[in-house]
Amino acid sequence: MSAVRVFFIGGYMAYRALFNWIHPGMYIPTMLAGPIFQVLFFAYVGRFVGLEDDAFFVVGNAIVISSMAGIFGMAMGIGGERWTQTLSAILATPANRFALILGRALPFIANGIFVSAFGFVCGWLLLDFNPPLSSLPVLALIIAVSATSCTALGLCVGATGLRARDVFFLANLVVFLLVLLTGANVPVDAMPEWMQTIARALPMTHGIEAGREAAAGASLSEVDHLIWTELGIAAIYGALGYSLFRLFEFEGRRRATLETM
């Protein structure tokens, strides 16, 4: 029961306390308006170079912009405890660590889904993107799975914040690399071989591929292998992030560096 409370109430309180962009004056420009211009920017570059149609860039970027919540959010939600000097107090409690971490991830997954969905709606309103109505449930599932796997990678970034001096440097870098490597803007098979290898191990690459197929009319059974792969990647990054969190917690206690800045 206590773990459930830590998961829901703790996660909600951590979100309210540590997510610096929660105020509408910050949230709207940073999480909604800015990312929409990302969708438009790459769609227009795509038109100029004659690479792919608008749908390619709308799906790719609408999914990848959930990293604003998944990566930056988790960097704030976990790494932020160190900045606010509350990490020791949190780790002194006997709270179930698994519930503690997952509870923090949940609001950012929901946030990522919202940002992605907003990206899709704006792409539909502003660009030449008209997915069939029947594809919407599958697209919704893909958005949810992709936001989850991105947040799992964000957990790794956030956990690194328990050790690294500047977690936002890493968060920014990861977000930029996701824009490059997930195939959001460049077809994965047009990348050099080594980039393709990295791309296939990253969150959202398979989600984006599934999203493009679904937006073109593919059914759930035609893309379910990609969704399962995306979920598998989410589980791997989630496990890695949790392990990193426990490792840095242990190391921080051992070396008395939990809140050293």
């Binding site: 004056g25 308006a33 438009l40 227009y44 100029f48």
Partner: protein
């Protein structure tokens, strides 16, 4: 003479301190290289016949805009956080003379991006760096830096008035300006109303000046426009800054973060 000395000393100081900032290494070196890679791959895989040097220069200019936007947009807020804003306002020179070197330094540090994207393009994508008018290229770069730096002054003085903090506007304006100033996409592809907007933005003329001097064309007019717009930004920035200073003194909010 004193003013020039102040600008020179301030510019050098801020340039050195920005060079030590991890965030500016990210925005002026790593981010432009990542975005240049995306652009190179897109242009190479696409059906167009645009030269990759066009892409290199555009991506470098994207980096100059980002470093100016984030550096200048948050300049006053940053001084507040550092606890140095009161001192900067209390010193005998006017606040605008203290702030201009900082905003110029943020656009100057963007030159790392141009260098990084040109080198990256040369080393990994075989992009030749053959400049058609080297002398004009050498003039176009400082003109662009000055134009953007003074636009930075306007951003510094206006973003601080946004209640939710300057960062919100900086986060918002990166992509729209990349798009609306034709850094990678010709303005003719955008809706008609974007073009008049682009005329009042220094990056539009900066990228034209740099591209036309490098790839061939007449960079003279864009260079003049960069300098002229810089003058307009200086006047506008001074008015806004005086307004900010008056409000901050009136409401005793100078040091409030």
């Amino acid at each position: 003479m004193n003013a020039l000395r102040l600008i020179w000393a301030g510019w050098k100081f801020h340039l050195k301190s920005l060079t030590l900032s991890g965030f500016f290494i990210l925005t002026s070196v790593l981010q432009p290289v990542i975005f240049a890679t995306i652009a190179f791959l897109m242009f190479r895989a696409g059906a167009g016949d645009t030269t990759l040097l066009y892409v290199s220069l555009g991506s470098g200019m994207m980096g100059i805009w980002s470093s100016t936007l984030f550096g200048s947009g948050g300049a006053i807020q940053w001084q507040r956080w550092q606890g140095t804003l009161e001192y900067l306002i209390a010193v005998p020179p006017s606040f605008v003379m203290v702030l201009v070197p900082l905003t110029l330094a943020t656009s100057t540090i963007g030159l790392y991006s141009l260098t990084a994207t040109l080198l990256w393009g040369r080393l990994f994508f075989g992009v030749p760096f053959d400049v058609v008018h080297p002398l004009l290229f050498a003039v176009a770069i400082p003109a662009t830096v000055i134009g953007l730096g003074l636009l930075g002054l306007v951003m510094a003085a206006s973003f601080i008035l946004w209640r939710s903090g300057a960062n919100a506007l900086s986060n918002l304006l990166e992509y729209p300006v990349w798009l609306a100033t034709g850094l990678l996409v010709p303005l003719s592809l955008l809706p008609n109303w974007v073009e008049p907007v682009s005329w009042v933005l220094a990056p539009t003329w900066g990228v034209r000046a740099i591209r036309e001097s490098a790839l061939g064309g007449d960079p003279f007019f864009p260079v003049v426009m960069c300098v002229l717009l810089g003058g307009v930004y200086l006047v506008l920035g001074t008015i806004l800054l005086n307004h900010f200073e008056r409000l901050a003194r009136q409401h005793a909010t100078l040091s409030l973060t």
